[in-house]
């Protein structure tokens, strides 16, 4: 069995080469390469990322030159940042009319932003577990068994990567929109909103739990947003698991079975501990993509305010010239993406440690 390549970087440095083997142009090459890399990545990644937080906290460019301006900007910017998400209670009846209007609209905006955050979290709470189950099942079937059409199955998993997010949204409109194939059925169907599950007592039926909020139709409702998000994010977990499980083979599971473990016990005690880091990584990628998905969701959301997810809310705020609010919402998503990166580094380290432990055991 071939061992997987370790994730740690092997030290291959031209500047470590002995002097007589080093080419005279190596130093120039290093100077050019390093300065280009630093400048390019700063311009393309660090500055744009920093700019999100600069705008979110309302820090002007002038404040980079004068510290007193910076202090002033931050003092004004931080409360405004939080007001994007929650406008403090104030008694609006004593306000003058234009101020009251302004206050009430800011309150309404903050409410919409909060509902967008709730919508994003709710969609992720539905999409990620479903894709997790699929990823585990697909990886198990593909890596532990040989069957006809296996290669086709694996390449079908990758299919959503080839599809533009907008096309991913379009196919659900084609299927379940008013003029779609299942249009007659899909525009009439009612479905319960999961968050409206509540205790209703035994008066109505013998099941005390029930939904108080039902929605009609699929396209242009959160149902379609969840479907489109599933479509766009479903390869991530399977993709993270398949190479790893392929390398691990089936010997350990077979040993567990011969020692008398049941199927589920074998899965939870043998397989799951081996793949936990890859599974976590795939889940996080899936979550990050699901939370930030824009194209597919904007097709099926119908651009009504209650259906907004965070990226759609960002677009609306930006179109209303509410730059600071748009960047404030964007800053939350930026934090999620930075956390994803950090977790990826941690997980790669853990996976490398797990791998080297195994190698030591083998020796």
């Amino acid at each position: 069995m071939s061992a997987p390549a370790p994730v740690v970087i092997a030290p291959t440095d031209a500047s470590v080469l002995p002097a007589h083997l080093r080419h005279p142009t190596a130093a120039i090459g290093k100077w050019i390469g390093v300065s280009f890399t630093v400048l390019f990545l700063t311009a393309m990644i660090i500055l744009p990322a920093a700019n999100i937080f600069r705008q979110a906290f309302g820090i002007s460019w002038e404040s980079l030159r004068s510290p007193s301006q910076l202090v002033e900007d931050v003092k004004a910017g931080v409360p405004r940042y939080f007001q994007v998400f929650r406008m403090p209670e104030q008694d609006s009846s004593t306000m003058a009319r234009p101020e009251r209007r302004k206050y009430q609209s800011a309150r309404a905006q903050a409410e919409k932003t909060r509902s967008a955050i709730g919508m994003t979290l709710g969609i992720a709470a539905i999409v990620v577990p479903l894709n997790l189950l699929f990823g585990l099942a697909a990886a198990w079937a593909v890596t532990k068994f040989r069957f006809r059409g296996r290669t086709l199955f694996v390449s079908l998993i990758d299919l959503p990567f080839a599809v533009s997010p907008v096309v991913a949204g379009l196919i659900f409109v084609l299927l379940m929109g008013r003029v779609g194939f299942c249009g007659d059925w899909a525009t009439k169907i009612s479905w319960p909103v999961p968050t409206s599950l509540e205790w209703q007592g035994f008066a109505q039926s013998w099941i005390p739990l029930g939904f108080s909020n039902w929605q009609r139709g699929i396209i242009f409702t959160p149902f379609a947003i969840a479907l489109a998000s599933i479509f766009v994010t479903f390869p991530f977990i399977a993709r993270a698991l398949i190479p790893l499980m392929q390398n691990q083979g089936t010997e350990q599971e077979q040993a567990a079975l011969t020692l008398g473990a049941g199927g589920w016990r074998m899965f939870f005690k043998v397989t799951l501990p081996q793949i936990k880091w890859a599974l976590l990584y795939g889940t996080i990628l899936c979550l990050a993509r699901c939370v930030g998905e824009f194209g597919a969701v904007s097709v099926v959301s119908g651009s009504t305010d209650p259906n907004d997810t965070m990226p759609l809310r960002i677009e609306k705020l930006w179109q209303e010239y509410n730059t600071q609010a748009a960047f404030s919402v964007a800053s939350l998503l930026a934090v999620v993406s930075v956390m994803t990166l950090l977790l990826k580094i941690v997980i790669e380290k853990r996976a490398a440690a797990q791998f080297s432990d195994k190698k030591q055991e083998a020796q």
């Binding site: 083997l21 390093v34 744009p48 068994f145 599809v163 409109v173 479903f234 824009f294 990226p311 990826k344």
Partner: protein
Amino acid sequence: MSSRPANILPGFGLSFGYASLYMSLLVLIPLAGLGLKTSNLSWDQFRNTITNPHVMAAYKLSFSAALAAALLNGVFGTVIAWTLVRYRFPGRKFFDAIIDLPFAMPTAVAGLTFGDLYGYVPLLARTADAQPWTFEIYGLYGLDVRDWCRVTVMLTFVGLPYVIRSIQPILQDWDMETEQAAMSLGAGPATIMRRLIAPEIWPAWISGVALAFARGVGEYGSIIFIASNIPGLSQIAPQLILDRIYDPIDPEKKIAAATAIAVVMLIVSLIVLLLLNGLDYLSRRHRA
């Protein structure tokens, strides 16, 4: 990898059944709907939709900017991957880590901040000119130059990790002794590049460029924040699809048009990915 004829592991029926059911319901059947809708279109309808000047302009913008961005990434990505693997400098691990940020960052957020940050750079700036600055060269004729540059810069960001992450492992596993042998035999850096390193990394390089291209063609979220989205001048193909879907006049016809536009995009991405698989197969056979 076990190649035992009799597999005693349980759960094949359950896992395969569940996975294929899930995939069919959520991915394959909806995608098949796209094909079905297209086959309902007559050839004339399809051709008329595709050859509409706005649609042609959108394709030109989407494909040319995605190609330019992929090639830019091919060049810059090679330099960056080389630098990260071969040289030690302060902050190397940090720069290595942030390369994945374009994968993790939502495209809408990226577009928002790029538009804000680079909206004032001369070549990229939004202007209130009545007369747009358009391309005069064949192939891109009539597209807005500034918007084309903006879209290209954005797509360069979006596709940044692909080339780097595909050639980096090869450069890392590269055996330096071959290179030292070549050097001691009198080969200069250019010869080593051309005769030793280039043959080793080109399949991965092409696959990275192709992935960046396929990603760029379909990109939507970031572009709408930075391009002016004027039909025929600076509108990308996905934006056109969205416009057709939300067009209230004659929805049936408009959705059919959106389908035709989408099918062409999908076919191009699928061809690129198929070529990629073929290339992968060839290079593997070449090595074996």
